[in-house]
């Protein structure tokens, strides 16, 4: 009989248990599976490895990847190389957290429930919104859920989305809108931000929501104060996707009049990990509370009057409402929400501002260095203000893929090729500079760019 370190079943156990059941063999327990659909061979899949061999195999796969420890990262475009405080991994490695299921039994899940309640509190405080949920899969799917919420709340069918929103998020919103039979209109950009006159022209009585991102995908900060009245004048909802760390510095969506604020919490202490798992957050103004997707934790008291926390407003959710639920989401990204919470606890009131400020200053130093670089091969195409990311126009005919291959040789993960998602920005790259980049790294990167382009 097969022995395995995760399987306690001994031959004696098996015999005793079969005897209790009154079966002769394990095979008898599968007698209900029709003969014609039973699988009798050996599955053609990867073979088992012992523990040491598995560690070696995984190391070998891991070592084939150019990671941030060995390469200096100037890639952003939604995933950033921020410092992750060391305490975070210690806390999320406590197996009371990571081996627990959704907190369905509140008496033995107060730790998780309180952690989520604190996460909701942090997100409300950061975004300036009234209510936040327990998390979504990522920022992009959170945006798609916001569009769905807007359709339900306004009974309108049209979603306007700025082309300065992350291209992958726009793709997901489109996929999702097709499912919900909603119509998507895209609005162009001008000087790196949403074209306001195009937006005004596109607004109609059927506009459920306008979806914008700030800082947007091109790095620029949207002038939300001009956009907000245009959206609300037609009775649409304003949905803002935001970088949470930038809110240490930038005005909150709540103060800017957003009805829904979403985003990805990856900058808040979550590893890049090829883009996932991260954690979407979702916050709304008070009137939209009962339309929120996903889990929500509320404060209450126990029989002795002691404070406690429970999953609440569950009549919105799929396990109660089934086809009438506000969303189909069930599992979310709770452990990453915990990462983000611990990050915000570590940074505290002053750290979140200082971190955002460092990002701002380093990125502007890099942009200034590129602007001042010799040879004229690089220019900054937009003059809108930006946070920690900006676009660079390369000299005509530059092959961005070849440039990034050369930068990789020199130890850099170079910029995002904007031509991939924006045909009109062919030959432009997007460069992100976080607080982890030193002046020396930035100087060397700019010199390398110059050398590659000369």
């Amino acid at each position: 009989m097969m022995k395995h370190r995760y399987l306690p079943m001994t031959e004696q156990d098996q015999n005793e248990m079969l005897q209790t059941i009154g079966a002769d063999s394990i095979g008898q327990l599968f007698a209900d599976i029709p003969e014609s659909v039973r699988y009798t061979g050996k599955l053609p899949m990867s073979e088992a490895l012992d523990e040491d061999a598995l560690l070696r195999h995984m190391s070998s796969l891991s070592n084939q990847n150019a990671d941030f420890d060995r390469y200096t990262c100037f890639l952003g475009a939604g995933i950033y190389d921020h410092h992750i405080p060391v305490v975070i991994n210690h806390i999320i490695s406590r197996s009371e957290f990571y081996t627990a299921y959704t907190p369905y039994q509140p008496e033995i899940s107060q730790g998780e429930l309180q952690a989520i309640f604190e996460f909701q509190s942090y997100i409300c405080e950061l975004t300036g919104m009234a209510v936040a949920n327990a998390s979504m899969y990522d920022g992009a799917t959170a945006l798609a859920e916001a569009a769905a919420l807007a359709g339900g709340a306004t009974k309108r069918r049209q979603i306007i989305i700025s082309r300065t929103v992350h291209p992958e998020a726009r793709e997901i919103v489109k996929t999702s809108a097709h499912g919900l039979n909603m119509k998507i209109i895209e609005i162009g950009h001008s000087n790196g931000v949403t074209d306001l006159s195009e937006l005004e022209a596109a607004m109609s009585e059927d506009t459920a929501a306008v979806l914008i991102q700030s800082p947007n995908f091109l790095g620029c900060i949207e002038d939300v104060r001009s956009i907000e009245p245009v959206v609300h004048a037609k009775g649409g909802l304003l949905v803002m996707s935001v970088n949470p760390l930038s809110l240490g510095l930038l005005e909150s969506p709540g103060q800017l009049g957003a009805d829904v604020a979403v985003g990805d919490a990856q900058p808040l202490g979550i590893p890049a990990a090829l883009g996932g798992p991260t954690c979407g957050f979702f916050a709304v103004s008070e009137p939209l509370m009962r339309r929120m997707p996903g889990r929500i934790v509320g404060q209450t008291v126990d029989r002795d009057g002691k404070r406690g926390f429970v999953l609440t407003l569950q009549t919105r959710e799929q396990h109660i409402r089934r086809e009438k639920a506000t969303s189909n989401i069930c599992s979310n990204q709770a452990l990453l929400a915990l990462c983000a919470s611990v990050y915000m606890s570590v940074m505290g009131k002053t750290g979140i501002q200082e971190a955002a400020l460092l990002n701002l200053r380093k990125a502007h130093y890099a942009a200034d260095s590129i602007r001042a670089s010799t040879g004229g091969a690089m220019t900054l195409p937009f003059f809108s203000s930006f946070y920690n990311e900006f676009a660079v126009k390369l000299s005509d005919g530059t092959d961005v893929k070849a440039l990034n291959a050369r930068l990789l040789q020199a130890g850099f993960l170079g910029g995002y090729d904007l031509g991939d998602a924006y045909p009109e920005l062919k030959g432009h790259i997007l460069i992100a500079v976080t607080e982890r980049r030193t002046k020396d790294e930035i100087d060397r990167f700019v010199l390398e760019l110059e050398a590659c382009l000369s």
Partner: protein
């Protein structure tokens, strides 16, 4: 009485910090010189000011008020709470997996791409499907993705099929996913044996049937013995068969959805493939399809090129588009791959055999004390009814709460909806006979307590950090954040 636990916000003392940021080595430009003042933050986010020891003690204390698989037996039905191997946690944290960017050049992430490619093929082999996408982030996300694929398939054939059929024992996510994919749901009753009622199914199918969503084994822990007939009925009507993989732990290497006639399958890697639930997520919900649906899979798909290198394939004109940013929950996929390699195909088959033996053993030992909803053999889980508790003025909920005092996580209760006072138990394969026996003894003791001292059960739990909580007030007067700022 144990004291209340403070919120992190309540520990704040101005002047304390828990962070360490680099000195600014570039010019100290003021934000107001770079950004218009009306776009700068006007009101500071009132985060707590604590130091590192506060942070560690706070979250350590919270963890002590939580219960995971490592704390004890967790027989939560339909959730497959098996042991979460530690090696999976270690390897997922390797720099080459945790510190890589989704937009790096393909040549700089060949190890990651090889892992994804191999996992795709392994999952296809396990389910008997032709191709797999790893993008969906969770089971419900996989369901929605699968239904969007089905919709695209029908649309490509010029057919408008608007209805999705689900049995009454299905997960709530099934009808919810159908709605978000733009379908109307038809719910059909189960027959007296807990199986799909074929007459009801025949009456429900028609030219508007897009798909039947089926969990097999079902949420009642029963294998649909008429699966071949079910597949014929759906396929003859021009519909497709969708497999909800929440319960795959019963059939690995024993029966494959692809061989049963299913056209689309999702798996919950956070169930069958042992990746941790994380207190509610993250999961991963890969979707496998038969050949005819491959053109519609989400972009991109990992492919192996003629020269043996791996690449993203974006050139898929009929794709439904993206369903998730980047490439899915990669860190979870790494863990699932490591899990597959700790067992291999024969090991996975043994996993399912042990899971099913454990469930049948528990069901048989508990049968004299609690009514078994559908007698016979079960698969990885089984369903009891607690309706005889009513005679003592008690409910299933009371048994669940009393189990907390014995140090167990209770089973799933009140689901599936078609069994009165439902108790759904899934032991998994990683629990020993001694653990199962001790739990069974506790269940027997509780039914005896219910008979002789119902108040003891009614007022449970006694040993937890809080007693039963007022959920009605929480929903009626929601307090959803601490407004500490």
């Amino acid at each position: 009485m144990k004291p209340e636990k403070a919120l992190i916000f309540e520990l704040s003392k101005p002047g304390r910090i828990a962070y360490s940021l680099p000195e600014c080595d570039v010019p100290d430009v003021e934000p107001s010189e770079l950004i218009p003042s009306h776009l700068l933050r006007s009101k500071t986010a009132e985060f707590p000011e604590v130091y590192e020891v506060d942070v560690i003690r706070h979250y350590t204390e919270l963890s002590r008020r939580n219960f995971g698989i490592d704390n004890g037996f967790y027989p939560l039905g339909s959730c497959t709470m098996k042991y979460n191997p530690k090696i999976n946690e270690d390897v997922a944290r390797f720099s080459g997996f945790a510190k890589i960017h989704p937009y790096q050049p393909e040549e700089s992430i060949q190890g990651a791409l090889e892992l994804l490619y191999t996992l795709q093929n392994d999952l296809a082999a396990l389910t008997g499907m032709d191709q797999v996408t790893l993008q969906p982030a969770a089971g419900a996300h996989g369901e929605w993705t699968g239904l969007m694929l089905i919709r695209a398939y029908h649309e490509s054939r010029g057919e408008q099929r608007t209805k999705v059929i689900v049995p009454d024992s299905s997960h709530g996510t099934n009808p919810a996913s159908a709605t978000t994919a733009g379908f109307a749901t038809i719910t059909i009753p189960s027959n007296e044996r807990g199986m799909v009622d074929l007459d009801a199914l025949r009456a429900a199918v028609g030219a508007d049937t897009a798909a039947l969503m089926l969990t097999n084994p079902s949420t009642l822990g029963l294998f649909e013995e008429q699966i071949v007939e079910i597949a014929e009925i759906i396929h003859e009507a021009g519909g497709l068969l969708y497999y909800d993989g929440a319960n795959s732990n019963a059939i690995m290497g024993i029966a494959r959805p692809g061989d049963m006639g299913f056209d689309v399958v999702h798996l919950n890697l956070h169930k069958t493939m042992s990746t941790p639930h994380g207190g509610g997520g993250p999961g991963a919900g890969p979707v496998g399809v038969k050949n005819k649906l491959i053109p519609f899979l989400p972009r991109p798909v990992v492919c192996k090129q003629a020269d043996g290198t791996f690449a993203w394939d974006f050139d898929r004109p009929q794709s439904i588009g993206r369903v998730k940013a980047f490439y899915g929950n990669f860190g979870i996929l790494v863990r699932a791959y490591a899990y597959i390699r700790t067992y291999g195909p024969e090991g996975l088959r043994r996993v399912s055999e042990c899971a099913v033996l454990n469930a049948n053993y528990m069901m048989n030992r508990l049968a004299p004390y609690y009514e078994v909803a559908y007698p016979g053999v079960c698969k990885h889980e089984f369903v009891l009814s607690g309706k005889k508790l009513k005679a003592f003025g008690l409910r299933t909920l009371d048994v669940a709460k009393r189990l907390l005092d014995f140090g167990y996580h209770p089973p799933t209760i009140y689901f599936p909806l078609n069994v009165e006072e439902c108790i759904m138990i899934e032991p998994t394969e990683t629990e020993s006979k001694e653990t199962l026996d001790a739990f069974i003894d506790a269940m027997i003791q509780i039914i005896e307590e219910a008979e002789h001292d119902p108040d003891l059960v009614r007022n449970a739990p006694y040993t937890t950090v809080v007693k039963r909580l007022d959920e009605a007030t929480a929903a009626r007067k929601p307090v959803l954040n601490c407004n500490c700022g």
